[in-house]
């Protein structure tokens, strides 16, 4: 028997399903912390506020009943429920991967609530005007002014689908996109409006039993975005989703599915933040991209989940499976990621280069400061002829941060004339951090060409002094040098994202020197 918190029945329309969010400033841990040390150390995580909003939330724990409940709440068709259950049953037989170069306390999967929905959203807002003003305030703090965005539609040209915990609260520009034939909506909505597309592609890139976290996601995913770009259409604006984990003790399991039909083109931006909390929170997302003949998908992420405090308390576990399938000939999938947040990152956005002459790219900046740990990289699987992949990875470790690049380049027998270029640079700040590189290559076709370059360097005292002798303070100098180091990746980001990424690096590096 499943129980909603503070509620005796499944009936969502009755009873005050209230969970009060606590203010972190008044928590015991924050009180005992030495105030001067706090000031001296890194600035407070600027996205670390909590929205005080009533939420419907399933009691912690995972079982087939919980999955049935989630599926029922979302009014899902039978096939989707079965898909979830199949994944759940397989997940029960799987063990959490331990090969990554990260060290953390294992997650207690029975202590997580797998569904959280802001209460006032129960019936779903029809327009932005119906959206709870507190939610909008949250987005405003995050720097995504939905209202302004809509008003400035012609200027900003960015459509935003916002995921607040498990329910997508507002999708802007839907109409304008529809005119172009583009479908951009919450995945749960797509299940209802375009079931044939969802059924055809969901799980076709990341199979339900792909890995431990992907299986978990498949069983319990609650929200995410769905994008379909029809044949020959160049998406008229950049699409963007901001994810945010708000409710305490909830994991976020979003699922994103992007399909670019023949000759189409889309650029998708994903930004992530989460409030500051003492306990760890789990984020196990799955992103699937499908590019058909001559299609191009550019997927950019700026990830700023709460990294935990300087002693490693709290922070997000970011265990994410992202994979793109260049299914068609001459298709192209490009991943660009800037990872500055999370306590633990386990993430390998990959490309399956199936179509002949298809192209895969991975540009990454990952920064770990304090006690953060990141094991991230990519997989490029060359199947089609003359497939080409580029990997540029920039890892920055500061404080006691641990940074690992893990990348696989696999060239199958069929991949005549495949080419890969890998460049993998690490930058160390201070002497208590670590950078590690784990490149794997498997080549089964002798005509393949692979290049691999790797460097590890420290910010030289010479460089720092040079900047300081010009009047530039130490922190600004470090951030400037690090930004220079990351330039090759930042230039791949859309303009406004690149600016945000640079600022983020500067904030994340505060307290890294001196």
């Amino acid at each position: 028997m499943i129980r909603l918190m503070n509620e005796p029945t499944f009936d969502l329309n009755q009873g005050p399903a209230t969970t009060m969010a606590a203010n972190p400033q008044t928590s015991a841990a924050a009180n005992v912390r030495d105030v001067t040390a706090m000031v001296a150390s890194r600035k407070l995580y600027s996205a670390g506020f909590i929205t005080d909003i009533e939420a419907d939330k399933v009691a912690p724990g995972l079982s087939e009943d919980v999955i049935r409940l989630i599926s029922a709440k979302k009014e899902e068709p039978e096939w989707l429920l079965n898909f979830r259950l199949k994944a759940y049953r397989r997940w029960l037989t799987m063990t959490e991967p331990e090969w990554a170069h990260v060290d953390y306390q294992k997650v207690d999967y029975q202590s997580i609530s797998y569904y959280s929905q802001p209460k006032s959203m129960k019936d779903g807002p029809q327009t932005l005007a119906d959206v709870d003003p507190k939610l909008l305030e949250t987005y405003r703090k995050l720097g995504i002014p939905l209202r302004e965005q809509e008003m400035l539609a012609g200027v900003q040209n960015v459509a935003v689908d916002v995921v607040f915990d498990s329910v997508s609260v507002g999708t802007t520009f839907k109409k304008k996109l529809l005119e172009a034939g583009v479908i951009f909506c919450p995945l749960s909505e797509a299940v209802k409006s375009h079931p044939e597309l969802v059924q055809k592609y969901l799980g076709s890139v990341v199979p339900f039993a792909d890995n431990f976290f992907a299986a978990l996601n498949t069983a319990v995913f609650t929200e995410g975005s769905f994008v379909y770009i029809p044949k020959g259409v160049r998406c008229p604006m950049e699409l963007s989703t901001y994810f945010r984990i708000n409710e305490r003790n909830t994991g976020q399991f979003e699922r994103t599915l992007i399909i670019a039909a023949e000759g189409s083109h889309v650029s998708y931006l994903e930004g992530c933040t989460a409030p500051q909390r003492d306990e760890n929170q789990l984020h196990a997302a799955v992103v699937e991209l499908v590019a058909l003949d001559d299609a191009e998908i550019k997927y950019s992420t700026v990830q700023n989940w709460y990294p935990g405090d300087e002693n490693g308390k709290g922070g997000i576990y970011n265990f994410v499976t992202k994979r793109g399938d260049c299914r068609g000939a001459r298709s192209k999938i490009s991943w660009t990621q800037v990872e500055t947040g999370s306590a633990i990152t386990w993430k390998y956005p990959s490309c399956i280069l199936r179509g002949d002459d298809s192209v895969g790219e991975f540009y990454s900046v990952a920064l770990t400061n304090h006690r953060q740990q990141a094991d991230t990289g990519t997989k490029m699987i060359h199947i089609g002829k003359r497939t080409k992949s580029t990997i540029v990875s920039k890892g920055i470790a500061a404080g006691r941060g641990q940074q690992s690049y893990r990348g696989l380049v696999r060239v199958l027998e069929s991949a005549e004339g495949a080419r890969n270029y890998t460049q993998c640079d690490s930058l160390l700040i201070g002497d208590q951090c670590g950078a590690h590189t784990f490149p794997y290559t498997e080549v089964r076709n002798p005509t393949a060409t692979l290049e691999h370059e790797a460097t590890t360097s420290k910010i030289a005292d010479d460089q720092l002094f040079y900047c300081r002798a010009r009047g530039i303070g130490e922190e600004e100098a470090v951030s400037m040098i690090v930004n220079g180091f990351c330039k090759d990746v930042f230039k791949e980001l859309p303009m406004e994202f690149a600016v945000e990424a640079q600022k983020l690096l500067a904030v994340s590096l505060e307290g890294a020197v001196g």
């Binding site: 030289a460 005292d461 010479d462 460089q463 002094f465 040079y466 900047c467 300081r468 002798a469 010009r470 009047g471 530039i472 303070g473 130490e474 600004e476 400037m480 040098i481 930004n483 220079g484 180091f485 990351c486 330039k487 090759d488």
Partner: protein
């Protein structure tokens, strides 16, 4: 402007400066010459505030302020400029980015607002012309792939852009061909004026043919052993340093 009294400094336990005295007034150009290992670069680095140079005795006052108490960036904002003997490369950070950050740091220090982008651009471009630096080079990484001569000209460009009051040029002339030397000298002379002072740290007389110093000092064994006018440099060129070191 700059008063150095009985300065003792060491690098890794080794005493390099052993009681150096030097007084510089606004409007003056001083040349500090001396053999290798005499402490010329140590003096430059101590004034600019580089880590690893420990002052054990003496004082350095700049406009009456104790310079040794200030962080290097504050010294720069107060108007001290060190032209490096070996300018470093900072990959990916464009010259413009560095210059803008430097200008704004100084403006902030003086309580002014940030420079307007157009003003900044025009200001830098005009100065780049003086030292014959192609505007295209400005968008390249700081000294990234620059030749030795380009790096030195870039130092002079930074100096022209920042308009410091006290310029210390550490062997800026070394490794330059005659054309580059003239450009560098023109840059230095362009900033000469009643409110500014220059310290030329150099091995050779050559630069002094183009930048006429008011005073020439000979640094040997960690202190100034002889001071004079421009004629001293000529004498050194003829006789070398041997006769002074022995003294």
């Amino acid at each position: 402007m700059l008063e150095i009294n009985n300065l003792h400094a060491r690098v890794e336990e080794k005493e390099i400066l052993k009681g150096l005295n030097l007084s510089i007034k606004p409007g003056e150009v001083h040349a500090i010459m001396g053999p290798n290992g005499s402490g010329k670069s140590t003096l430059s680095n101590v004034i600019a505030g580089r880590e690893g140079y420990e002052v054990t005795e003496g004082s350095v006052l700049f406009d009456g302020k104790n310079l040794l108490d200030l962080e290097p960036e504050i010294r720069a904002c107060e108007g001290i400029f060190l032209g490096f003997q070996y300018p470093v490369e900072i990959p990916g950070v464009s010259n413009m980015t560095l210059l803008k950050a430097a200008i704004n740091a100084r403006r902030k220090h003086q309580g002014e607002t940030e420079i307007a982008p157009n003003d900044f651009l025009a200001w830098v471009r005009d100065r780049a012309k003086l030292v014959k630096i192609d505007p295209k080079m400005l968008s390249r990484g700081v000294n990234e792939g620059f030749s030795g001569g380009e790096k030195k000209r870039n130092e002079i460009l930074q100096m022209l852009v920042l308009q410091p009051r006290l310029m210390i040029l550490d062997e800026t002339d070394s490794g330059l061909d005659i054309d580059a030397l003239k450009i560098v000298a023109d840059g230095i002379n362009a900033l000469r004026g009643p409110t500014r002072a220059t310290v030329l740290v150099t091995h050779y007389q050559r630069l002094l043919d183009y930048v006429q110093p008011d005073y020439v000092h000979v640094l040997a064994r960690g202190r100034i052993v002889k001071s004079g006018g421009p004629e001293l440099a000529k004498e050194l060129e003829e006789k070398g340093y041997g006769w002074l070191e022995a003294a």
